[in-house]
């Protein structure tokens, strides 16, 4: 149930981009630019073992060979990125080895998270949500350590997991998204600075929501977090991710990698509310959100479910995918992508059916307003051995105004006779009749619009955890402000 802090969180959402503040904190930064020394610097800062540094360098050397392979197939356009003009490590300066407990965390940081509506102090925390917060490049605090320990759940910054659980990290890191997977994944593998690590032991059905909030604070930095979640046999976990960044005139790069692994009978539910700074109404500034998210349903009867509400970022390039290896495994993708003003989004999913009787379901709702471009791009692939595979896909686009675009690009590749793939897509606008009907009953034009759009998104909103659903509905309304009339 939503409590007082949720209510405050929601009330705070009233402003245009209320996360656009900047926190003045002394930073510890790597020198600008990217080379092997910078990678060594990052690795040293994190006190990493040699194998981790080698892994990074391997990724970096591969990335160098991809000089002309920066993805160009997405329906987005942006000026070339100068990868030497960014800073790859920025951390709030902290004496010693970082905070041991919340009391040691810089009060200014706690204040920042309060402003974001993510109270880190346990007493203010939403019931049942354990939070890890990543500020620029480092994880600042993980709450509810005790409750986690009781269940044997490991939920910590990935930099910590490298030290404390090297066998798990070694075994699974890069096993779903190989370092050579794509341009941005290779870059991330070379320079990732922090992120969350989750391990749910066998048979544990973890009752709390695990949550990470990402925030880019420093100027001229990229954020390259790396998340790794492993659900061991018969386990269950629900994980929430939220993102914000201050308003800046220049674009900032966010190239994250998320890997999920579900073993036999395990289930991972991964929800994202992405509200990075989208840039101003003329397209100045904003985050480039180039993210690789992929889950492997390795075990029989395993399930991975992605839910995303994408309202922020100047450009979103993101395809949370499922590799359905285990027999009877299930992949789901529920997405709301809203673009307004000059935003561009090219997002969707890949469902790769490898095991028998694997099932996937894709529900995508794209809303385009202003001069924005919104593309759904997805792949459903049924491999020859995937007897009895099933997919259902529904992609709906809503256009608000006549200056924006909505595009649907699904790929369906079937290599097995018994496959059953169904894809439907529609494009429409909010009708004048619907608006008038709502307004005739007393609702303002903007409220009418928000109501209708939320109705359009309902199938996705209803699979979000309660805490996020409330926030997401508000975000839907806020993201479309100024798009009527």
């Amino acid at each position: 149930m939503a409590d007082a802090s949720t209510a405050r969180q929601v009330a705070d959402l009233g402003d245009r981009y209320k996360y656009g503040f900047h926190t003045d904190i002394e930073e510890d930064r790597a020198p600008k630019g990217l080379n092997e020394d910078v990678i060594r610097f990052i690795s040293a800062k994190k006190n990493e073992p040699a194998w981790m540094l080698e892994w990074r360098l391997k990724a970096y050397r591969h990335w160098l060979t991809l000089e002309h392979e920066e993805p160009s197939w997405a329906k987005v356009s942006y000026p070339p990125i100068d990868y030497q003009d960014s800073t790859y490590y920025s951390a709030p300066k902290n004496p010693g080895d970082g905070p041991k407990s919340l009391d040691e965390v810089d009060p200014k940081l706690l204040e920042t998270y309060e402003k974001l509506g993510i109270p880190l102090r346990e007493r203010g925390i939403l019931a049942g949500v354990a939070v890890d917060a990543v500020f620029d490049s480092v994880s600042v605090a993980t709450t509810f350590k005790k409750e986690l320990g009781k269940h044997g759940v490991i939920f910590c910054p990935i930099s910590e997991a490298v030290q404390t659980h090297p066998e798990l990290v070694k075994k699974y890191l890069g096993s779903v998204v190989p370092v050579a997977d794509n341009f941005f994944a290779a870059l991330n593998s070379a320079v990732f600075t922090d992120g969350s690590f989750v391990y749910i032991p066998k048979g544990v059905r973890f009752p709390m929501e695990l949550s990470t909030y990402f925030r880019i604070n420093a100027a001229n930095t990229g954020q390259f977090e790396r998340t790794l979640i492993i659900a061991d046999e018969g386990s269950y976990v629900s994980y929430l991710e939220g993102c914000t960044a201050p308003m800046r005139d220049e674009n900032q790069l966010h190239a994250a990698v998320v890997e999920l692994i579900a073993l036999d009978d395990a289930e991972i539910k991964y929800s994202t509310v992405q509200n990075w700074y989208p840039g101003d109404a003329d397209g100045k500034g904003g985050i480039y959100n180039f993210v690789t998210k992929r889950g492997a349903c390795r075990g029989r009867n395993s399930k991975i479910s992605w839910t995303q509400v994408e309202t922020g970022s100047a450009i979103t390039w993101k395809y949370p995918s499922c590799i359905l290896q285990g027999d009877n495994s299930v992949g789901e993708f529920y997405s709301i992508a809203i673009t307004n003003n000059m935003q561009q989004a090219d997002t969707g999913t890949k469902m790769i059916h490898i095991g028998k009787n694997t099932k996937s379901r894709i529900i995508s709702k794209g809303i385009s307003a202003g001069r924005a471009q919104n593309t759904y791009r997805g792949l459903v692939k049924i491999m020859p051995k995937a007897d009895g595979a099933r997919n259902f896909t529904q992609c709906d686009s809503l256009l608000i105004g006549d200056k924006c675009g909505a595009h649907t690009v699904p790929y369906i590749e079937a290599r097995n006779r018994s496959a059953h793939v169904e894809h439907e897509a529609t494009t429409s606008k909010i009708s004048e009749d619907q608006l008038l009907y709502c307004r005739q009953r007393g609702l303002s034009e903007e409220d009418s619009m928000a109501l209708i759009v939320n109705g359009f998104c309902k199938e996705v909103l209803q699979v979000l955890p309660m805490e996020f659903a409330v926030e997401a509905q508000k975000l839907v309304a806020i993201s479309l402000e100024g798009s009527v009339g």
Partner: protein
Amino acid sequence: MASRKAIAAPFPFLDTDARAWPGMPELTEARRHSLSRFRAEALPSTRVEAWKYTNLAALARIPFTAPRPSAGDGEAAQAAVRAVPSDRRRLVFVNGRFHAASSITGTAPQGSFVGGLTQALQQAPDLIKPHLAHLTSLDGDALMALNTAFMIDGAALLIGRGQTAEPVELIQVGHAGEAPIAFHPRHLIVVEAGATATLVETRTGEGIYWSNAVTTVVLGEGATLHHHVIQQSSLDAFDLARVQVIADANATYDGSLLGTGAALSRHEVEGLLEGRNVTCRLRGAFLARGTQIADVTTVIDHGERDGQSEQLIRGVLDGKAHGVFQGRIVVRPAAQKTDARQNSNMLMLSDGAEADTKPELEISADDVKCSHGATVGELSDAELFYLQARGIDPDTARRLLVSGFLATVFETVSDDSVRERAAAAVEGWFAS
């Protein structure tokens, strides 16, 4: 060009002279230019998005030469004519060249022409000249350039303002001897304002040949063209056909395809709906088995308001066949009130078959209704069982269901003979 986006294709026929066309310097120039463009670009590889699923590498390995007239051409033409159950006017082509002896052109009224394209250039240059730009265009991909460089002939169907033309059969025969041949038919169909025409195309053949055809359809205001294609090319042939439709206000393009032939076929329709309130209906059905590759690719580009487009594409795949459907609907900012619908269904009859479908919507106007639906699957067990429970053996049941699946595609074709021929082609496929 050593690019991963191209397949080198040093076909022997490239060295034959691209002949000058008498009295048509623009055409001669376009051919020269197009030839050098093809040499530079070569064939598109699967790294080119439009060719992602259809690999032309096998084509590039064959030493195609230019066709020469041979003694057997007449007999091949006659055989093809006999196979078409129609006594309509007909234009017969052997290896891309007009075969006057087998053709019946009749007499066209003032302002109209029915015959071969070279013939038209000589006999009715005034009718052709206004549309010459379509023949000399330097747009399009490498295959289009190749066609422009080596086109010799094709059908010319020019229907004058307000006329209602009798249906015309276009019969094309590929007739290769020992050596594989390539030819590049170029058809020009012009239906002027308020006119109506029907063109029924049949393609058959023997041996290894490559037909790289381009059909340009120009529809004037309120014009209507019914354009039906039955493709039963040689199973060793490569049948690439591109239909480009340019439609003015209130025009209607009503097209269908039934394809069973060719080792590799691609039927491509590009509809440029340039005027208001254009109607475009596309139906496609193909059956493929063995190692056949069958590709239907469409782009319907709504440029102006109030347009309607409707597409229904169905494929049946057996053996190790590979079926491809790519269908893109584009709605430009000016094309408000567009109503665009597309449906595709692939039926897989065997384990080795592959189906690739890529429906696409690219929408830049808000007050529109656009949708696509795509399915891939096998025959329904429930339906099979139902028929069997009524005493029908499994093979017959399967045949009935497949025939029914494809017959739906042609339900809206108004020409009875086309519907019957499509059904017969499906029957023939089962029987062969």
